[in-house]
């Protein structure tokens, strides 16, 4: 069997997904199941004086109505990702608000009924008396509740700026938007009377962490909580974190002693799941006359919404730690103030912190190039770290790890991107369009990513009765294809095809030590764990096979799923099923005390991340008549170290671009002046569709294998998104002849304002609020 790693293997999960055999959270149904509707705050900020549930309770078919009074006192959801030196204190989110509501959509009560219609009808009858308080809606307005104020940096920034020939300054804002999986959240929970435990279907992303939190909040042993693997219609960072509903639904199942189902609807989803991205940057770069960067400063206001959720303040930390990007920045100082506002609380969204910081930094570099009269590419090339400078340590920490940029060749990646752009004739395309009087622009961004976050992941591999290879991994299937990737990795240990491999992700009983799928980590970390476990099982297969074949272990080989004596092609060979049989209890080949079965557990630990990098290039056209921006061409060049499955890497990058174009041009959670969300449907929250997303050229580079893991792989989950806001902004500013834009989204109002075409209310909407 040829090596499976590196092949464009079709996705294993597609068979069930395309045939309608997938099982999503809401597909799991039980008899006697109660259906839940969450009653949410209709006001942005207020004091709750009374919640009257009698009318709702009196409805036929209503089983229970629950408010904070019915819960254990002051239950709050803890932080999963701590940033050293920060303390969210009283601002962790309660599972149900009691005295104060802080955003529209905050859970106040839960109605359980015999069906979802009755639950929604009854939820309307829960009477809320809330005395409205003034809503705080802007971070950095001067009247702020700052929940964290911290800095990251290194070097002598003061001297760098004092001695600089040129200083460029830019204010840049990024709008509130987030990951919007096509499947909203869903939870089905079955109650187990014998143990008092719960069987949970619908959790994704970090089942191990969620089980731990739930066990603590319910005050039960983790072993009575079983989170099952289900399919998920997209994750993007928002799905699968521990939200209030992740407590309320299991808690209700135990209270009612019956199965409970909750399916989020889209209107809820858009006010309930983590929002993200809203930041305002004030950047300064100190440069020598020739464009050499001497120092970089950034002062960031991060709008975190009403509470600190499971991500703590990791998103703005990632903004600061990753801001210098792939460049040689001798001195850097970043400060962020994380402010709370009366809007939906925030968390991570694919490329958290980096989409924002990359857009701000790259626009700053466009600006300094313009101010120095230099070519944008030349300025970047001059400042890129060279292979000889790697590994490059920045005296900062991020995600609790030391920031050491591992191997790489950044200038080569830039060359490869631009060579492809030249081959594709994009410069000529822009020139031709301009000759016809059209506003075309070419945009470029370079970015640094991070991936492969540890500290560990665990995988189990076993051989089953028909000689199949079974994997219980700690990753979760969010639609990204991780099952296929893990199957490819383990298949090579046995010389079999991926068709002989079964992968179960995210089941807390089968794999209690899983760390989940996030932070572009699963191929790298879970993959390395699977490889280790597979290797251990393969060793055992060879050992036991040698016993059966009456040969020395070093004389047998395992290839094509068969153990045979090396160099003796005609000799007797054992397939994996036969070796499995030899490992069964009672087998004459098992020695006394030797465990039965062919299985192994492996824990892969890594204390540093691996840093992928890339470039985005795009061509846009601006219509001065409407202010509309059309993305005509798009290219991503990305260093992935080693692509386990190039087709899936490309798919990840393309999907990222789709979201990046949405974030650059369309998607925004807007609020009115009283804090009412204005984007609670897909008519108002503008997701890009097939009509808005361009075809994407991919330059997939495997020029710099990662040194932090045995696969040499770098994560690929986020790089399609990281540079998108920056590249589109660069292209728009190029199209309209401005040195830099001042924020996202590049909506018609702000584009026309930058063009100087429209004055008046729309023109003032640089923040996108018309």
């Amino acid at each position: 069997m040829t090596e499976q790693i590196g092949r464009r293997v079709p996705r294993k999960e597609d068979r069930r997904l395309l045939a309608g055999h997938a099982r999503f959270g809401a597909d799991v149904q039980f008899p006697r199941m109660a259906h839940v509707r969450v009653v949410r705050s209709p006001v942005a900020h207020g004091t709750v004086s009374r919640i009257a549930t009698e009318a709702a309770r009196a409805q036929p078919g209503v089983i229970d109505v629950v408010t904070a009074e019915d819960l254990p006192a002051d239950l709050r959801i803890p932080v999963r990702l701590h940033v050293e030196g920060t303390d969210p204190g009283e601002r962790l989110q309660p599972v149900l608000a009691s005295h104060t509501v802080r955003y529209v959509g905050e859970p106040l009560a839960v109605v359980a009924a015999e069906d979802a219609y009755l639950a929604e009808d009854a939820a309307e009858l829960v009477e809320l008396e809330i005395d409205e308080l003034p809503a705080r809606l802007d971070a950095g307005s001067g009247d702020d509740e700052v929940v964290a104020d911290f800095g990251l940096g290194y070097g002598d920034v003061e001297s760098a700026f004092a001695g600089a020939a040129h200083v460029a300054r830019l204010e840049f804002s990024v709008q509130r938007h987030s990951g919007v999986p096509l499947e909203p959240r869903a939870l089905t929970v079955d109650y187990v009377p014998a143990t008092g435990g719960v069987e949970i279907f619908g959790a994704t992303k970090v089942p191990g962490f969620n089980r731990r939190v739930l066990a603590q909040l319910l005050d039960v042993d983790e072993s009575v909580i079983h989170l099952h693997a289900v399919d998920a219609g997209g994750g993007f960072g928002v799905r699968g974190e521990f939200y209030p509903e992740d407590f309320l639904v299991p808690w209700l199942a135990r209270r009612l002693r019956r199965p409970v189902s909750w399916v989020e609807d889209r209107a809820e989803h858009l006010v309930a799941v983590n929002h993200s991205r809203q930041q305002r940057h004030r950047l300064e770069v100190a440069a020598a006359g020739d464009g050499t960067i001497l120092g970089l400063r950034d002062d960031v206001w991060h709008d975190n919404g009403a509470y600190v959720r499971t991500h703590g303040v990791i998103v703005p930390e990632l903004t600061l730690s990753m801001l210098p990007g792939p460049y040689r920045v001798p001195a850097y100082s970043g400060r962020v103030r994380v402010a709370l506002t009366n809007k939906t609380p925030c968390g991570t969204y694919r490329a958290p912190g980096r989409f924002e910081g990359t857009a701000a930094r790259e626009q700053l570099l466009d600006l300094v190039a313009a101010e120095l009269g230099m070519d944008r590419v030349e300025l970047r090339r001059r400042n890129l770290l060279t292979p000889g400078e790697l590994p490059h340590t920045r005296a900062m920490h991020t995600l609790g790890t030391e920031l050491v940029l591992d191997s790489g060749d950044y200038p080569r990646l830039l060359d490869r991107a631009l060579d492809t752009v030249d081959e594709l004739g994009w410069r000529e395309l822009v020139a031709r369009g301009r000759a016809q009087g059209r506003l075309l622009g070419l945009g470029l961004s370079l970015f640094l990513e991070k991936s492969g976050l540890g500290p560990h992941d665990t995988a189990d591999v076993e051989i089953t009765s028909t000689g199949r290879v079974r994997v219980h991994s700690g990753g979760t299937s969010l639609g990204q294809g991780i099952e296929t990737v893990l199957a490819q990795i383990v298949a090579d240990e046995f010389g079999v095809s991926v068709d002989r491999v079964d992968v179960v992700n995210g089941d807390t009983t089968l794999q209690p030590f899983g760390t989940g799928s996030w932070a572009s980590r699963s191929t790298v970390v879970a993959g390395s764990a699977v490889r280790g476990a597979g290797r251990a099982v393969a060793l055992r297969v060879r050992e036991l096979g040698a016993e059966v074949l009456e040969a020395a272990p070093e004389d047998v080989e395992l290839a094509d799923g068969v153990v045979r004596v090396r160099g003796a092609a005609t000799a007797r060979a054992l397939d994996l099923a036969e070796v499995w049989l030899a490992a069964q209890p009672g087998s004459p080949w098992l020695r006394d005390g030797e465990p039965a079965g062919l299985s192994a557990r492996h824990r892969f630990a890594v204390d540093r991340m691996t840093y992928p990098y890339g470039a985005h290039v795009c061509v846009v056209e601006v219509d001065p008549g409407s202010g509309g921006v059309t993305v005509l061409r798009y290219l991503v060049a990305y260093e992935v170290g080693r692509a386990v499955n190039p087709a899936l890497v490309e798919g990840q990058l393309r999907g990222g671009v789709a979201q990046g174009v949405g974030g650059a041009l369309l998607e925004e959670f807007r609020y009115d002046e009283s804090g009412q969300p204005q984007c609670t449907t897909f008519m108002d929250y503008l997701m890009p569709t097939a009509s808005e997303v361009p075809a994407v050229e991919i330059v997939l580079c495997e020029d710099a294998p990662a040194t932090t893991n045995p696969l040499g792989a770098r994560g690929a989950g986020e790089g399609g998104l990281t540079g998108a806001g920056a590249a589109v902004a660069s292209a728009v500013s190029d199209a309209i002849g401005r040195p830099a834009m001042t924020g996202l989204p590049l909506d018609p109002g702000s584009v026309l304002a930058a063009l100087g075409t429209v004055t008046g209310p729309a023109a003032a909407s640089a923040d996108g609020i018309p």
Binding site: E268, G625, T681, T689, P748
Partner: protein
Amino acid sequence: MKPAPFEYHRAYTPKEVTELLLELGEDAKILAGGQSLVPMMNFRLARPTALVDINPVSGLDYIRRDGDVLRVGALTRHRSVELSTEPDVHNGFSVLPGAARWIGHFPIRSRGTVGGSIAHADPTAEWCLLARLYDAEIVVLGEHGTRTVPSDEWFTGFLTTAALPGELVLETRFRRPRRHGTLLEYARRRGDFAIAAVAVAFDITDNRCHDVSMVLGGVANEPLRVPEAEAYLEGAEPGERAWAEAARLAAEAVTPGTGPDDGDHGYRRHLVGTLARRALAEAQAGPAGPRPRGGAS
């Protein structure tokens, strides 16, 4: 996102529809294609106590030319107009198939109806704009039989019409066929409700514009005719200069207080100017003829 409780009734004849509506009272609603009503019910923005499903009613799905009048039955799906290759449609009313392509997305066009759109009276809806552009008459059936309402009396405000309780739209009669016509819209995404839309129709004889109509959508509570631009273009020589002046007049018609979103009128005004100029130029180039099925627009 589950609708509040409602009764469901099915009607088989127009008369049965009106009888049911009168019996069920003012909170009963007609269900045709359901492309606006059902989402509004799911959001509980609309809470009809009862629905009268008119899809089983036969004889309301047609496009018929009657001299200078194009009669479109209420249950005609958007998609039927879009795909029409009938010379009766394309000679004089070529705007209709072209305009249908702007309506939402494929499933919406397959299910939604012309009569439903006229009855719903969204100020950006294509059929509402064209009803005003072609001085259409709306034929409705009520308690006392049929009556015909001119389109300038039909649209009475945001999502409101001159329909009386119990009345059912039977037909829209588009009149005054003209050789040149276009409807253009702008939305941030293909298929969304237009931020603004402009429809124009006119004839050109002896290199002069005649019989000019211009309607704006999305800038007022109902489709807005622009008599200033129409008067200016009457007898004008077709061409960029005339189009630019007419577009300026169209943009001037967008005033604060006329739009659903007053704060945005500066942008809408600019957009209307753009769309009007482009629509006039496109219309001048002549009727496009039937578009290939599935072709790009």
